[in-house]
């Protein structure tokens, strides 16, 4: 979706009919709109979300009054006012015009009355160049949603000063939902859920009605287990939500404690100790995995030393008795007999004494395969014995390391407990006591959830899934099905195979997105960040800043608002870039499963309160990530470094001239020209007018 122009008609500050054109050129893809505080930058952002989704951002006040106040005041009783936003855009090679409007009337008492509620129309230009109504199976709202789903709105239409929200712990579900929708994961999740759900249920019922008692019994059993699994999954999700909420509460307690005098040293010590605790726990997990790997690779050998010893004894005894190795190869004896001549030159005529003597040697030979096996076994026994010794040494070493870490863990837990007692000591006052008590309970509950309840629920769910799979196999194979039952069995088998394939494709896509988005994030963040942090997206699409501590990536706690804003912007950019990349690939492939898309970035207060270095870098990479960037800025946000970076990428530039009832005026200097920025209204009405900046 690439916007070409927008026409506002008596919408909020924008009196009368006004049109603004956006930059659509691939290289000059940035539109900059300058506006004084209160001139309507947020209203313009909301004009986009209103026309597309009939929705507004949380900071848009009085969203039930969209009409221009002056235009409404000028109405005579009984007159009507039509407020509208029309946007012209391109999507998938087609040009559309969407218009949303509302009509209000001033009644005899001067009261406002809505006469035509919010309505939307959508037209497109057909092959002949005619503009026609976009008809089809979907209404205009649905068609617009298909092009750019509403849940993606926060990623493409946002206020730069509030974007840091995406980097908060609570936003991960929103991010995950956005990524799933934008990059096709949602489609696979839904397909799997629908196939496994209603469709499979219907097929099983059909099998049941065509397979008698056996089918009924299996289906009943399956329904019970399905229900248990559903409960278990819900239980696990609830535990995970609880952990996130508890962590958030703990962080807010920490923030409160941070502000209390006399605790600074203790809190610093605790933060250090907590870091060490995480490192130790990571170390224990690592050693446990090393041990599991070693046992899985060589553990079976520990059970067979007696067998190896017996094999060696058998071979040694054979050697002692002269049975091994054989002096002659079987093939050699056979060649002599066939040639009828011994190597000493003696004649070996069939039936002669010499022939019989040579032939008798055959009983002392073995097949080549047996000889090779004996040689291999003799060599392997020694190797295997050495591997047993090495493996036992390795396991001993890993166990010692793990035990040392466990001891350290106990020590650090005692240290943390001691610190907690000191922080919660009454000598610091009542508030720290209460806060620390609550913090202890939270910590204990988090540990309980993370280390006991969540793993238990996960393991139980896995067992139930295995039972379901077995039952599904049984249902598919119930004998005595009639023709209809057999067809249903075949369909169920096909649905199960397709569901499995969809799940695997989804996993592939998930891994691809996590890797690509993470790399893109790392790249953008690496170029911008001042501190030595790394940006990453974890498995659950949690946006994180991490820091290397002793070779391990540890999460950064307490990142600044500016850092979070940059991280969030980098994420949004990475998301748009990946969607564009997928779109370009799909365009060149007739069989592509994934679609992607072209999505613009529309940002109010794009550079927020960022530091100079951040502004410069954000301004530099922003136009490269999205095919179209529309930014609204105040004069203080449009500073030299931003202008320098963006100048060559600007394809369209506008000033929102604010006419105020006060006798105030000021201008803004852009491209060596002065533009009226704020001016006194000549008719006593406040309004904003778009003025195009001349681009040489």
């Amino acid at each position: 979706m690439i916007f070409e122009q927008m026409t506002l008609c008596d919408f909020r500050q924008f009196a009368g009919k006004q049109t603004i054109h956006f930059a659509v050129d691939g290289r000059k893809n940035v539109t900059v709109i300058h506006g004084f505080n209160g001139s309507g930058k947020t209203a313009l952002l909301n004009a986009f979300t209103w026309v597309l989704y009939n929705d507004f951002s949380p900071d848009f006040e009085a969203s039930d009054r969209l009409e221009n106040e002056s235009a409404f005041s000028a109405l005579q009783p009984g007159e009507r006012l039509r407020t509208s936003v029309e946007v012209v855009f391109r999507d998938s090679e087609r040009k559309y015009t969407a218009e949303r409007f509302i009509e209000v009337e001033k009644d005899e008492n001067g009261t406002r009355r809505v006469v035509t509620p919010t309505s939307v129309s959508l037209l497109y230009v057909d092959e002949s160049g005619e503009q026609v109504e976009a008809k089809g199976p979907h209404n205009p709202d649905e068609t617009l949603q298909r092009m750019l789903p509403k849940r993606l709105c926060p990623f493409f239409f946002f206020n730069g000063e509030r974007i840091e929200r995406l980097a908060s712990a609570q936003a991960y579900q929103e991010i995950a939902a956005g990524v799933r929708t934008l990059l096709d994961i949602e489609l696979f999740d839904r397909a799997v859920s629908h196939l496994e759900g209603e469709l499979s249920r219907r097929l099983r019922q059909e099998i049941e009605s065509h397979t008698g008692d056996e089918g009924r019994r299996l289906l009943g059993e399956r329904a019970k287990i399905d229900e248990q699994l559903d409960d278990k999954v819900k239980e696990q999700e609830q535990h995970e939500r609880n952990v996130a909420a508890l962590e958030e509460e703990r962080d807010s307690i920490d923030a409160k404690l941070d502000t209390m005098s006399g605790l600074a040293l203790l809190l610093t010590q605790r933060k250090e100790a907590e870091k060490r605790e995480i490192e130790i726990k990571t170390g224990i997990r690592g050693r446990r995995q090393d041990l599991a790997r070693e046992i899985s690779r060589n553990g079976y050998l520990w059970l067979v030393p007696d067998v190896l010893d017996s094999a060696r004894a058998v071979l040694d005894s054979a050697r002692e008795r002269g049975k091994l190795p054989s002096m002659f190869r079987l093939q050699f004896i056979e060649d002599l007999l066939e040639s009828k001549r011994c190597i000493c030159g003696a004649d070996l005529a069939a039936g002669s004494n010499g022939y019989k003597q040579v032939e008798s040697l055959k009983s002392q030979t073995y097949s080549d395969e047996l000889q090779d096996a004996v040689n291999r076994t003799s060599g392997a026994i020694g190797i295997l014995k050495r591997r047993i010794e090495e493996s036992q040494t390795d396991v001993d070493r890993l166990q010692i390391l793990r035990d040392e870490l466990r001891t350290k863990k106990t020590e650090i837990e005692e240290e943390l407990s001691e610190l907690s007692n000191k922080i919660g000591d009454r000598e610091h006052g009542e508030d720290p006591v209460k806060l620390e008590n609550r913090r202890r309970k939270i910590e204990s509950e988090i540990v309980n959830l993370r280390e006991v309840r969540i793993p238990k629920a996960k393991s139980e769910a896995t067992d139930l899934r295995e039972k379901l799979q077995q039952l599904d196999r049984d249902i598919r194979n119930v004998e005595r099905a009639d023709a209809q039952g057999q067809l249903a069995q075949r369909r169920l088998a096909a649905v199960e195979n397709v569901t499995r394939a969809l799940s695997r494709i989804r996993q592939l896509r998930h891994a691809e997105l996590r890797d690509d988005l993470s790399h893109q994030l790392e790249d953008v963040w690496g170029r911008i960040a001042i501190k030595d942090y790394a940006a990453r997206l974890d498995n659950e699409f949690r946006l994180q800043l991490t820091k290397q501590i002793d070779g391990e990536a540890m999460p950064v706690r307490g990142a600044s608002t500016g850092e979070k804003q940059v991280l969030s912007l980098a994420f949004v950019g990475a998301l748009g870039a990946k969607a564009r990349d997928t779109y370009e690939k799909a365009k060149n492939s007739a069989t592509s499963i994934f679609r992607g898309g072209l999505y613009p970035l529309v940002i109010d207060s794009a550079f927020g309160n960022l530091e100079v270095e951040y502004r410069r870098e954000v301004a530099r990479w922003m136009p490269t990530l999205a095919p179209q960037v529309i930014i609204m800025v105040s004069e203080s946000q449009w500073r030299q470094e931003v202008e320098q970076e963006l100048l060559s990428r600007i394809g369209s530039e506008w000033v929102m001239r604010l006419e105020t009832t006060k006798n105030r005026s000021r201008s803004i200097s852009l491209r060596n020209r002065e533009y009226s920025y704020v001016m006194a209204s000549d008719d006593g009405a406040e309004r904003t007018t778009f003025v195009e900046v001349e681009i040489d």
Binding site: Q145, R190, L195, A511
Partner: protein, 59 residues
Amino acid sequence: MSDTESERQLKLHNILKELDEEERDLLSKVIKAEQQKLHMKQPRNINEDLWKVLVETIR
């Protein structure tokens, strides 16, 4: 170490290769049906759409 583009394509190809022709057809029709209603929070009648696709594909 993440996969290269060609490794990803190969993995996808292998997954599809394990299905027979009818099942591949079903998979592609299921994706199309889901795409049609992806914008809806609660896709109306999607189960009926999928049932039709199934009955038409696996006869």
